[in-house]
């Protein structure tokens, strides 16, 4: 742990994204359309390369993780799993944003610069194994978002959303930093691996527990967990569809991977774990109840993500590798379903405006494939088989049952019955309502390009296939999270 121990071969994704950031920075400065156009087309290739590198290196790193940068940076199975997800999510975000109607052409390189910078921060975050490194990586990912969110031309709502995100974000960051200082003061160490072996009960280490709570608060803000969720629906609604698609998915991954690492500190029965379980239950119930009342699709998805943040926490309270793996798996399920939902929304709203349920009317006739994909996403979000959402939820509750939080499992299951109503509305409008445009109003133009169809089909297939055959991914994730626990 004392050595720099740099191994560039294992840092493929980081290097690729860093290079991309530098190149895009140059393009944004130079303002020559031909260069920036070329660079923009390079982004998806880079993302694919990064995902492939992470995937290829994952099996080796699962059994033999490497710790670099004086122990602050851990390249292991878990980090590679999340790097794959981040790279692929970035790819989808790129396809969403490349024809984004609400960004001016000359700002496009800027937009992608910040998008890439944020993804780079997340990639660093997924490997950060030391609290200060976590903090820095998290801020790198967030600062870029502060710029991205208001980038919706001539939109006051976007400006409001951006401001809200900055103010809330700054407060959460300050809290996290303060918590970090308390942890250092009390435990005298910041390496997560070392912290996991220490005592975390309120009776013996009150300061450390308070510090950890505050630090986790920062993560919960990124994850939009109740009661740190207030920015979430407003930001989704205010920002452009394409930006929302990114904000709703990838930054959550960053928060989740940190929470998974930090969850190794917790075991059932600790005060912190109780708080986590309580917040999970509150978040699930609150998110679902609020989502019931929404008419704007993105706002509904915002509250739905509050609920899903709670689901992900369910796996963390069990204190077992299975629980952590279930959370990681559900994180994958979550971004798949959300990317698919937002993909369909971006395709339907070709002029970039916000959609309501009514805009989905008659979708099954206008574009059967988009409707089918949306249905897969909706039922996956509810947790109905045979989708990845169901398998993910099954593993979450199986892992959580029998560790003293059985009531949480019941809350999760009962919430399915609440959630079904508003997710079903997506299907209902897409399939059963006829599309009768009001006089003078035009039906929304759909994006019917090959990419639109292929992307929806691919993501939809993934949602179903991973729900039917989850075995291989699951065993990888499980082995990755077993590696997080010190062997003793």
């Amino acid at each position: 742990m004392d050595a720099l121990n740099l191994n560039l071969c294992q840092l493929g994704p980081e290097i690729i994204f860093l290079a991309l950031v530098i190149l895009l920075f140059g393009a944004a400065m130079a303002k020559t359309p031909s260069v920036s156009g070329f660079l923009l087309n390079l982004c998806p290739l880079a993302a694919i390369a990064s995902a492939v590198i992470a995937f290829v290196s994952m099996p080796g790193l699962v059994s033999n993780p490497s710790v670099q940068f004086f122990g602050a940076y851990s390249v292991d199975g878990l980090s590679q799993f999340f790097k794959i997800l981040i790279s692929l999510g970035y790819l989808v975000a790129w396809f969403n944003a490349v024809k984004m109607p609400t960004v001016k052409d000359e700002q496009r390189p800027d937009y992608f610069l910040f998008l890439t910078l944020s993804a780079f921060g997340l990639i660093l975050l997924s490997s950060a194994a030391e609290l200060v490194a976590v903090y820095l990586a998290m801020e790198l990912a967030s600062y870029s978002l502060y710029v991205l969110i208001p980038k919706r031309s001539h939109s006051k709502a976007a400006a409001e959303a951006g401001l809200k995100y900055i103010l809330f974000g700054a407060a959460a960051t300050a809290l996290a930093l303060y918590g970090l200082s308390l942890i250092i003061a009390s435990q005298h160490v910041t390496f997560i691996g070392a912290l996991a072996t220490l005592d975390w009960s309120l009776a013996t280490k009150p300061l450390a527990v308070v510090g950890l709570s505050l630090f986790l608060g920062g993560m919960f803000f990124k994850l939009a967990l109740f009661p740190f969720h207030f920015w979430c629906p407003d930001v989704y609604q205010g920002s452009g569809n394409e930006t929302a698609a990114y904000v709703a998915t990838l930054p959550k991954l960053g928060a989740i991977v940190v929470l998974i690492r930090l969850a190794t500190l917790l075991s059932p029965g600790l005060e912190m774990t109780d708080i986590l379980a309580f917040l999970a239950a509150a978040s699930i119930t609150y998110g679902n109840l609020c989502a019931l009342a929404q008419k704007d699709l993105k706002r509904m998805l915002g509250f739905s993500s509050v609920a899903h943040a709670g689901y992900i926490l369910v796996g963390l309270v069990s204190g077992t590798p299975e629980g952590l793996a279930a959370s990681a798996f559900y994180a994958m399920a979550y971004i798949l379903m959300n990317l698919l939902c937002f993909w369909v929304i971006c395709r339907i709203s070709a002029d970039g405006r916000n959609l309501t349920y009514k805009d989905l009317n008659g979708l099954s006739a206008r574009s059967p494939l988009l409707a089918l994909s949306l249905m897969a996403a909706a039922f996956s979000l509810v947790g109905l088989p045979p989708t990845v959402g169901f398998i993910g939820k099954l593993w979450l509750i199986t892992a959580a049952w029998g560790h003293g939080y059985d009531w949480l499992v019941i809350v999760v299951c009962v919430n399915t019955a609440i959630a079904i109503f508003y997710y079903l509305s997506l299907v209902r409008h897409a399939y059963t309502e006829e599309d009768i445009p009001a006089k003078g109003a035009q039906t929304l133009a759909l994006d019917r390009s090959f990419i639109a169809t292929a992307g929806a089909a691919l993501l939809g297939l993934l949602v179903v296939i991973l729900g039917v055959l989850p075995g291989p991914v699951w065993s990888l994730v499980l082995r990755a999270s077993q590696g997080l626990y010190p062997i003793n």
Binding site: S364, M375, F379, L384, P385, P386, F390, I391, L394, W395, I397, T398, W401, G402, G404, D406, V409, I410, C413, V414, T416, A417, I420, F421, L424, V427, R428, Y431, T432, P470, G471, W474, S475, L478
Partner: protein
């Protein structure tokens, strides 16, 4: 019970019958995708449905023995003990047949009834068959749950897209009600996995669980299954769904979907929660009797034919649950037989209502008068199914009902007497509607011009009619198929109840441990709980 190591192939046939039966409709649905012409879609689906029936032929080789047959087992997700396990025993074989046989009738009775979005309709129909066959042949709890929940989606779409005027209300109510019921089923499945150590149903069926654990599991099962059956206080979704659903939807709903609840009671509640089943039996019997009487009484007051038959379903399914919770061989056999009967009879009645609706465009009794004069063949079939519905001797309805009533009388005179008014009510409402439809004059002049049954309608009515008479006159073969499984289930049920009594009497610690911290019960250090005795139970339970 150790699962067979052999994998997808069972030894008795040339292909994995149950898997093929389950997933062939999915394949057919994929084949449908590129077809444009509506008539082609109907033809292809019809051919596929007949192929599906032909593919089920190896199931005729089902032997009247205990245990599961046609077993298939391959690991599904290792590390969680998830298996893809299929198999049928005497309890489920009839339901698999029912699910498979229903499909061609549904295609036929929708031939002219469904006029728009034809392809989507048939895809829904095929996917529903997949889920139905899957539910009855799954031997893994998660697999069962997957099919159980997956069924909701096509059924919802069927009501919501092709339904009547209040389709929106009915479809959402159906979805919410049934989904809310099954949320706790998932909790029960997870709890069984943690406590019992496996998702594999045959293994869980022979395990013993503590009383408290069984108590909660039974309640979770009860909510899910009672809503699906539906039993008396949970039945309100059924009339709405039935009335709004298109004919084919009603047929599947009545013939197959409702059976899932009673099947669940037989497959899960009785073997896995024997003590709790005994504990709750008085409640279950009371609710069953209430369903019988209430369903019958409400049916008597209906003016809408479809609503009438829907409420009669509540009453008929009350007979089934009553038979199950009497825990006697006659009762359970009668219940299973009644499940089959109700599927055939009510399915046929719903097809006939669809047929008459196509002529009169109304489901009101008063708009469908004089059919005896103008549609004599139609009335002939209606009369036959009507008689079978209220258990007229010589029809299959009689056999099932009499077995259940016998068992009720054997339990106690009072219970037997309590059921009798239900049987009388059934005769009353069926005869009332039949009488009104047969006599009188059509309210509108065009009623006189209605054509009698077409060939297609003959085709889909003659087979259920033949089954009604065959099962009514010669029920022995079918009863013989189910007898060994029923008796084995009951023998184990009784053995578990008896052995636990002994333990309760001798155990110094008193009651077993509670729900939440239960662990592997076969381990030696386990708290005193019910375990199956080493010797097979004596056959004296008969």
């Amino acid at each position: 019970m150790v699962p067979p190591v052999d994998t997808l192939m069972d030894q008795t046939s040339y292909y994995p019958v149950l898997t093929v039966l389950t997933f062939f409709p999915v394949l057919a649905a994929i084949i449908l995708a590129p077809i444009k012409s509506e008539i082609r879609v109907r033809q292809v689906t019809l051919i596929a449905s007949i192929l599906e029936v032909l593919l089920a032929i190896p199931l005729l080789g089902f032997k009247a023995e205990t245990g599961f047959q046609f077993q298939e087992l391959i690991p599904w997700a290792e590390g969680w003990g998830l298996n893809y396990a299929m198999g049928v025993d005497g309890i489920s074989i009839l339901m698999v047949w029912l699910s498979v046989l229903t499909l061609p009738f549904c295609v036929l009775c929708s031939w002219t009834y469904i006029g728009r979005r034809v392809k989507e309709f048939h895809v829904c129909l095929l996917l529903m068959t997949t889920a139905c066959v899957g539910v009855f042949s799954a031997l893994d709890l998660v697999l069962f749950y997957v099919f159980w929940e997956a069924l909701l989606i096509p059924m919802y779409l069927m009501i919501a897209i092709w339904g009547g005027d209040e389709k929106r209300y009915a479809s959402i109510k159906f979805f919410l009600y049934t989904l809310a019921g099954s949320t706790l089923l998932l909790v029960a499945i997870v709890a069984l996995r943690i406590s019992g150590g496996t998702f594999y149903i045959p293994e869980l069926m022979v395990k013993g669980f503590s009383y408290t654990f069984q108590y909660w599991i039974f309640l979770a099962f009860f909510i899910a299954f009672a809503i699906k059956v539906p039993m008396f206080p949970f039945h309100t979704w059924l009339p709405a769904a039935h009335v709004q659903a298109p004919s084919a939807g009603s047929v599947i709903l009545a013939a197959v979907l409702l059976k899932m609840g009673t099947y669940g009671f037989l497959r899960f509640s009785l073997p896995m929660c024997p003590l709790a089943s005994v504990h709750f039996a008085p409640m279950m019997i009371a609710i069953s009797v209430a369903s019988i009487i209430y369903g019958g009484a409400i049916a008597l007051g209906q003016n809408d034919i479809k609503k009438l038959i829907a409420y009669s379903s509540v009453a008929h399914m009350g007979f089934v649950t009553l038979g199950i919770f009497l825990f006697s061989p006659e009762g359970v056999k009668g219940a299973i037989f009644q499940m089959l009967n109700h599927g055939i009879i009510t399915g046929a009645l719903f097809m006939m209502i669809g047929a008459v609706y196509e002529r009169s465009h109304s489901r009101e009794i008063s708009k469908n008068l004089g059919l005896g004069k103008y549609l004599p063949h139609f009335m002939l079939f209606w009369g036959l199914f009507g008689l079978a519905s209220f258990g007229f001797p010589g029809t299959n309805g009689f056999v099932g009902e009499i077995l259940v009533i016998l068992a009720a009388f054997r339990e106690s005179l009072g219970l037997g007497l309590a059921v009798i008014p239900g049987a009388l009510l059934a005769a009353a409402y069926i005869l009332k509607v039949t009488l009104k439809m047969a006599w009188g004059e059509p309210p509108s002049p065009e009623g006189k011009g209605w054509a009698d049954l077409k060939k297609k309608e003959w085709a889909y009515l003659i087979i259920p009619a033949a089954l009604v008479i065959y099962l009514g006159l010669a029920p022995t073969r079918v009863l013989g198929l189910i007898t060994p499984s029923v008796e084995d289930t009951l023998a184990q049920f009784k053995a578990k109840n008896e052995s636990v009594n002994v333990i309760y009497l001798t155990s110094p610690t008193g009651k077993p441990q509670g729900l939440f911290y239960e662990r592997d019960l076969d381990a030696p250090a386990a708290p005193p709980v019910a375990t199956r005795p080493a010797t097979p139970a004596s056959p004296e339970v008969k």
